[in-house]
Symmetry: C2
Subunit: 189 residues, 2 copies
């Protein structure tokens, strides 16, 4: 729990710390170079286990307060054992979480108190792509739709602007709608 | 645990079921239309909780065997409470899991027994983008690197080909290196 000693906490966001972080990065732009990481270990079939802990940022090697582990798998209809969500579902979760975190930060910075933020993200995919059955079909989502419900102490237009600004500054929205160079290396011994 | 009554299970993949699924979709391509979903509820600050359960596929509404929930947050250095990984880290986890699931399926189909598959995914991001401090910097990852270790009963060249084929058929690799239309709707009442 954040203790609001100076009245700067809004929506659970310490706006003083947020603005101090912005000022620190303005003064030293290289502090904004981050590297995030995920480790993965195959278990069996389509089941694997991911581990997230260390990252680099603000000039030094860091770690989360605890190690996060997540299983991924396919459901039975996709020849898996359903030990976790599909990898593609984790992408939808990431998008919702990214837009929501940004929304809370932006609302706090603009002095808007939120009372509720919910969203549903859907991703339509034609598995003729990944199954290699139709070369005209892409492997990934053909379209993603996000439906937000946002409530707070501001007019509807202001609440909608929060979502728009969060979209405009979202890391996950960017990697889905833009293109990221992905390099793959393989070691076999 | 999959019981291998007919010797068709390899790497934990029931290859008979895998080929039967391919044949079923070949016979009825619309069965390959899937929709995955994630729900998200804002908790406080940058902390939100995602829920994954229902999906549509193979012609009907379905659900995972259990409901999966995942917290996402920012670490303290990014003005959060570290209640979960960052949304951007979930994307790296999804990529590793997708490439790994594909690799196990492809190896099974090709008759290769895997003994170990591990990977590390790193994503470099310059937060001057999402902080709005430099318009030349993108919001998302500037580059992603995947380092695989793959071991099994095949020559190194064959093991490398598994990774290459998995990349060529990966849903998550596709959405990161391609572009997905993302539509956002907002309700405020």
């Amino acid at each position: 729990m954040t203790t609001d000693v100076n009245g700067s906490v809004r929506n659970g966001v310490d706006t003083a710390a947020l603005f101090a972080t912005l000022d620190a990065v303005k003064a030293a732009p290289p502090a904004a170079a981050f590297q995030f990481r995920a480790e993965n270990q195959w278990v069996s079939g389509t089941h694997s286990r991911g581990t997230i802990n260390g990252f680099f940022g603000a000039g030094e090697e860091r770690a989360h307060e605890r190690t996060f582990q997540f299983d991924a798998d396919h459901p039975a209809v996709l020849v898996g054992q359903d030990n976790g969500p599909t990898p593609a579902e984790f992408v939808l979760h990431a998008l919702a979480a990214c837009l929501t975190a940004g929304l809370a930060n932006i609302a706090a910075a603009r002095g808007i108190r939120l009372t509720e933020v919910r969203s549903t993200v859907t991703g339509d995919i034609d598995l003729n792509g990944i199954l290699g059955l139709d070369p005209r079909v892409r492997n990934g989502y053909q379209r993603i739709a996000v439906r937000f419900t946002v409530k707070g102490d501001a007019p509807a237009a202001k609440l909608r602007e929060l979502v728009e600004q969060s979209r405009a500054r979202s890391a996950v929205y960017d990697v889905l709608t833009g293109q990221v160079p992905v390099d793959i290396e393989v070691t076999t011994d």
